[in-house]
C-alpha cells in the first residue's frame, strides 16, 4: 500500500466527517488524499473514500483505548504529507475526542495541522455545545489554524420553514467548502500564495469567530458573480450587524479554477473585498489556477475576528501513543487547555490530587438588594451586564444626604 502522500491529507472524523469526504470524493474525484475514521461500521462500509479506518468500540466509554488501536494506521496514512486537515463535527463523543487527539499526534510529527470543524446547533442541546467548546479550545492550542463553522450562524441562510435535514445538509456543505478552501490555500504556490503563517495569523486565534464564504461562476462575468454569491454566505454576516468582514483584520482569499484566470481578475477581487471589509483590512490572496478554461471560477474567503489573544507558543507534543488522553465532557472543561497532551496516568493523578486537595471555600452571597423601584416588574435594561434600571448613584456607590423630615 502506498503510504507516502505528497499533498495535504484530508481526514474526516465521525459521521459528519465521512459525509463531507464522501461528497468530495464524488464531486472532486481528483482529490485522492483522503482518510475517514468512524466508529459506525455502516457509515464506513458505505463510504466511497479510498481509505477508511474503523474506530473500535471501547469499554467503559474510554476512547483512548480506541485511539491507541488506530494510531499506527493513522500515522502510516499521513506519513510524508506536508499537512493534515481534519474535518468533522464537535459536540459528539468521537469528534470531540478524536480530532484533538489526532491533531496532537500529527503535530508531534511536525506536520502542519489544520481543522475545519462544525459546532452544534443550539437546538442540539447545551451539553453538546459545551463539549464542542472544550474540544475547540484544545484544537486552538494544537492546530496551526481552525476554521469554525457555527451551525447557528449558518441557520440564518436556511429558511425557517426548511426541514431539519436541510439545516444539516447546509452545515455539511459549509464544512465541505471550508475544507476545500483550506486545502486550496495550502496548495497555492508561486508569487500569489497564502502561506502557513497567513493561515495561522488569521485562523489561529483562540475563541475567534470564523467568517467563511464561497462563490462559484462561469462565463464572462464570472468574477463578479462568484464574489456576489460568496458575499451572500450566511457565515459572512453577523446577525443584526451586517457584514462580518468589517470586523476582520485579515481576510484570506483563494481564487481557484480555470487556467485562464487573469491578473486583472485577481486584482479586481481584492478591490471588491477591500470595498466591503474596509481599507484597514489586509487581504491576502492565493491563486490555484490549475483547471481547464471551462472550469468554473471558485472563490473562497476565510477570515477571523474577535477571540482572546494570539497564541504565542505551541504546546510540546510527544510521539508516544500512550500520552494521549481521553477527556469526558466534564473533564474536558476541568483540564487546562494548554495541557491536552497529558498522559493518562498524569491525568488520573491530577484528578485524584484535585479531589483530595480541593478545599471547599464558601462564597459570599451578595445580599445587598438594589431597588429598581417602578421598574421592579419590567424587563430589565441590561447593558454590558449592568442592570441600568438600578439608580446610577446606587451602582456607582455615591452617598447622598438624606432628606430631613419635619
Amino acid at each position: 500500500m502506498k503510504n507516502i502522500l505528497p499533498k495535504s491529507v484530508l481526514v474526516g472524523i465521525g459521521n459528519a466527517g465521512v459525509s463531507v469526504l464522501d461528497r468530495i470524493a464524488v464531486e472532486h474525484p481528483s482529490i485522492k488524499e483522503t482518510l475517514v475514521i468512524n466508529n459506525e461500521g455502516e457509515s464506513l462500509s458505505a463510504s466511497v473514500t479510498s481509505r477508511r479506518i474503523a474506530f473500535p468500540p471501547c469499554q467503559d466509554g474510554d476512547l483512548s483505548e480506541g485511539f491507541l488501536a488506530i494510531e499506527e494506521e493513522f500515522i502510516a496514512a499521513i506519513h510524508g504529507a506536508p499537512a493534515v486537515i481534519f474535518c468533522g463535527a464537535l459536540g459528539g463523543e468521537l469528534g470531540s475526542f478524536l480530532i484533538p487527539a489526532l491533531a496532537a499526534r500529527a503535530k508531534a510529527d511536525g506536520i502542519t495541522t489544520l481543522a475545519s470543524v462544525a459546532v452544534p446547533f443550539s437546538f442540539e442541546g447545551r451539553q453538546k455545545r459545551e463539549m464542542a467548546a472544550a474540544a475547540l479550545r484544545k484544537l486552538h492550542d494544537l492546530c496551526d489554524g481552525v476554521a469554525l463553522i457555527d451551525n447557528d450562524r449558518l441557520a440564518g441562510g436556511v429558511p425557517s420553514t426548511a426541514a431539519v435535514g436541510e439545516a444539516f445538509v447546509a452545515a455539511d456543505r459549509a464544512l465541505q467548502s471550508s475544507l476545500l478552501a483550506l486545502r486550496g490555500m495550502l496548495s497555492t504556490s508561486g508569487p500569489v500564495k497564502i502561506t502557513r503563517a497567513d493561515l495561522a495569523a488569521s485562523l489561529g486565534i483562540p475563541g475567534a469567530m470564523t467568517h467563511f464564504g464561497h462563490g462559484m461562476a462561469k462565463g464572462a462575468n464570472r468574477l463578479h458573480e462568484a464574489i456576489e454569491e460568496m458575499l451572500k454566505s450566511p457565515l459572512l454576516t453577523i446577525a443584526g450587524k451586517g457584514s462580518a468582514l468589517k470586523e476582520a483584520a485579515t481576510v484570506l482569499l483563494l481564487l481557484s479554477g480555470p487556467s485562464d484566470l487573469s491578473f486583472a481578475e485577481v486584482q479586481r477581487s481584492v478591490v471588491e473585498i477591500e470595498r466591503v471589509a474596509g481599507e484597514r483590512c489586509l487581504v491576502k490572496v492565493g491563486v490555484l489556477a490549475d483547471g481547464s478554461p471551462d472550469d468554473p471560477l471558485e472563490i473562497y474567503l476565510l477570515a477571523g475576528s474577535g477571540g482572546s489573544s494570539r497564541k504565542t507558543t505551541t504546546p510540546a507534543v510527544t510521539k508516544s501513543a500512550t500520552q494521549m488522553t481521553h477527556s469526558s465532557p466534564k473533564s474536558a472543561e476541568e483540564l487546562p487547555p494548554a495541557k491536552p497532551q497529558a498522559t493518562l496516568g498524569e491525568a488520573r493523578e491530577a484528578k485524584s490530587k484535585k479531589s483530595s486537595s480541593a478545599q471547599q471555600t464558601q462564597g459570599v452571597l451578595n445580599l445587598e438588594t438594589y431597588q429598581r423601584g417602578r421598574f421592579d416588574k419590567s424587563e430589565p435594561t441590561i447593558v454590558e451586564g449592568e442592570d441600568l434600571d438600578i439608580p446610577t448613584f446606587l451602582r456607582k456607590g455615591i452617598k447622598l444626604v438624606s432628606p430631613f423630615r419635619h
Binding site: 450562524r153 441557520a155 440564518g156 441562510g157 425557517s160 464572462a220 462575468n221 463578479h224 458573480e225 456576489e228 458575499l231 451572500k232 450566511p234 454576516t237 453577523i238 446577525a239 443584526g240 450587524k241 451586517g242 457584514s243 470595498r275 466591503v276 431597588q371 429598581r372 423601584g373 417602578r374 421598574f375 419590567s378 424587563e379 435594561t381 447593558v383 441600568l388 434600571d389 439608580p391 446610577t392 448613584f393 446606587l394 456607582k396 455615591i398 447622598l400 444626604v401 438624606s402 432628606p403 430631613f404 423630615r405 419635619h406
Partner: protein, 408 residues
C-alpha cells in the same frame, strides 16, 4: 409637488400619547391643525405592556384630536421605539446584465434586496431600509443613478430591524380601534425630520430624542442616516432614581425633577435646601439640592456616555465629523443644564431643539415633547410626495413581512 392632504401622526409614548393632525402644504411645509393628548398608561420603556389600557388611552387621544380639529381620523402614521430595535449599515450590489448598460428603476430595488440579504435573528423583521448613497462602477456617492451608464451598481443602506411580535403589539392596539395604519416609523427618524434642516443633515448632526421611557438617537451625515439606536432609559429613570434616592413618591419625584432638577455637575453649582410642603398623605421634608442634582447628573451623564460609546464602537471618529453638533429634543430636553453636560460628553456644540419649518399651533411645535409626532406627519408627506400609493403598500409588505394590512 405637495398635495393638500391631511396626515395624522400617533406617538404612543411612555408618559403621554399624542396625536398630531397636520396638513401638508403646497410649499412643502406642514401646518399643524391640532393635537390630541392624553397621559399614557400601560406603556413601559416605549413598549406596550397592557394592550387594553393603552387602547383606551389611544382612543381618548384620538377623540381629543378629532374634537380639536374637526377631522375624522381614519388612518394614522405610527412611531415605534423600544430596546429591541437594532440597526446596521450594509452595502448591496448588482451587476448589470451584459446586454444592458443603462441603470433602470428596477436595479435600485435589486440592490436594496441584496443589501437586505443578511442573517437577521429569526424573530426580527425589517423596519426601514434607508438609502445612504449609490455607487456606479466605483464612482462614489451618486444621488440618482437611474439613466446613468454603468456595469455595476452598488448602494449603501442603513437598515433598522426589530422584534416582529413587539412591533405587532403596537399595530394590534391601533387596529383594535378600527383605525388604518399607513406606516410604522422609527421615532428618532421622525424626530430628525423636523428638528434638522437640510443643511444640518449635510453637515452632520446627532439627534437625541430623550423621552420618558427611551432615549432614541440618530446620526445624519452627508445628508443620509448613518447610525441609529435606542436606549431603554429616559426621564422615567431619572424620576425613579429621585424617588429611590430621596425616598419620595413617584409623583412627587416627577414634580421635583421638573421644577427643581438640574443635570449640572453638583460640585459646580450652588447647593441649598428645597422645602417640600405637607400634602394629604405626604409629610413635608427638606431636600438637599446637591443630592437631587447628583442623582440627575449621574443618570443623564450615563445615558450620554452610553450613546457616545455606542457611536464610537460602530463608527470610530464619526462624532468629530458632525459639523452641526448635537440636537437634543423630547421631554427631557427641558431639563435644566442638560446642554452643557452633553457638550462635555460629546465634545460638540449642543442645541436644545424642536420642530422647525412647521406652521399652525405654536404651542405644539415649540414643545420638544411633540417632535416625534410632528415628524411623523412630515415623514408622511415626504413618502406621499415621492411614492405612488401602490408602491407604499408594496413597501409595507416587504418591510414588515405583511405585519399589517391597510384599512380598506
Amino acid at each position: 409637488m405637495a398635495r393638500e392632504q391631511i396626515f395624522v401622526g400617533l406617538e404612543i409614548g411612555t408618559t403621554k400619547i399624542c396625536v398630531i393632525v397636520a396638513e401638508g402644504r403646497h410649499d412643502g411645509t406642514i401646518n399643524i391643525l391640532g393635537v390630541g393628548e392624553t397621559p399614557s398608561r400601560g406603556v413601559r420603556k416605549g413598549e406596550i405592556v397592557d394592550l387594553a389600557t393603552v387602547s383606551d388611552c389611544v382612543r381618548e387621544a384620538l377623540l381629543d384630536a378629532e374634537d380639536k380639529t374637526n377631522v375624522e381620523i381614519g388612518n394614522v402614521w405610527v412611531a415605534i421605539t423600544g430596546s429591541h430595535l437594532r440597526s446596521f449599515n450594509n452595502r448591496g450590489s448588482f451587476i448589470l446584465p451584459e446586454d444592458r448598460e443603462e441603470i433602470v428603476d428596477e436595479d435600485l430595488q435589486t440592490v436594496e434586496i441584496n443589501a437586505k440579504e443578511v442573517a437577521l435573528p429569526s424573530a426580527n423583521s425589517f423596519l426601514h431600509t434607508i438609502i445612504q448613497s449609490y455607487h456606479v462602477d466605483g464612482n462614489e456617492n451618486i444621488l440618482s443613478p437611474v439613466g446613468m451608464a454603468g456595469s455595476r451598481l452598488e448602494a449603501d443602506f442603513h437598515i433598522i430591524h426589530g422584534v416582529k411580535t413587539r412591533i405587532q403589539n403596537t399595530l394590534r392596539c391601533i387596529e383594535s380601534l378600527k383605525l388604518g395604519i399607513e406606516d410604522v416609523v422609527l421615532s428618532s427618524l421622525a424626530s430628525a425630520l423636523v428638528v434638522l434642516t437640510q443643511q444640518q443633515k449635510d453637515l452632520g448632526a446627532l439627534v437625541i430624542d430623550m423621552g420618558g421611557g427611551t432615549t432614541d438617537y440618530l446620526i445624519y451625515l452627508d445628508g443620509a442616516v448613518r447610525h441609529s439606536g435606542v436606549l431603554a432609559l429616559g426621564g422615567d429613570h431619572i424620576t425613579n432614581d429621585i424617588s429611590i434616592g430621596l425616598r419620595l413618591p413617584i409623583a412627587r419625584a416627577e414634580v421635583l425633577k421638573i421644577q427643581e432638577g438640574s443635570a449640572a455637575d453638583p460640585d459646580q453649582v450652588e447647593g441649598g435646601i428645597i422645602t417640600l410642603k405637607n400634602d394629604p398623605g405626604f409629610h413635608g421634608c427638606e431636600i438637599d439640592r446637591k443630592a437631587l442634582n447628583t442623582i440627575i447628573h449621574h443618570r443623564v451623564r450615563e445615558i450620554f456616555e452610553l450613546i457616545r460609546n455606542d457611536i464610537e464602537a460602530g463608527h470610530d471618529g464619526m462624532l468629530s465629523m458632525l459639523g452641526a453638533g448635537v440636537m437634543i429634543t423630547g421631554g427631557c430636553a427641558r431639563l435644566r443644564d442638560i446642554a452643557p453636560l452633553a457638550e462635555e460628553i460629546f465634545d460638540l456644540p449642543v442645541q436644545l431643539t424642536r420642530a422647525k419649518e412647521v406652521g399652525g399651533s405654536t404651542q405644539t411645535f415649540e414643545n420638544p415633547q411633540f417632535s416625534t409626532a410632528i415628524g411623523l406627519t412630515k415623514y408622511a408627506m415626504a413618502v406621499s410626495d415621492n411614492q405612488p400609493e401602490e408602491s407604499l403598500l408594496q413597501r409595507f409588505a416587504q418591510g414588515l413581512g405583511g405585519l399589517f394590512k391597510r384599512r380598506s
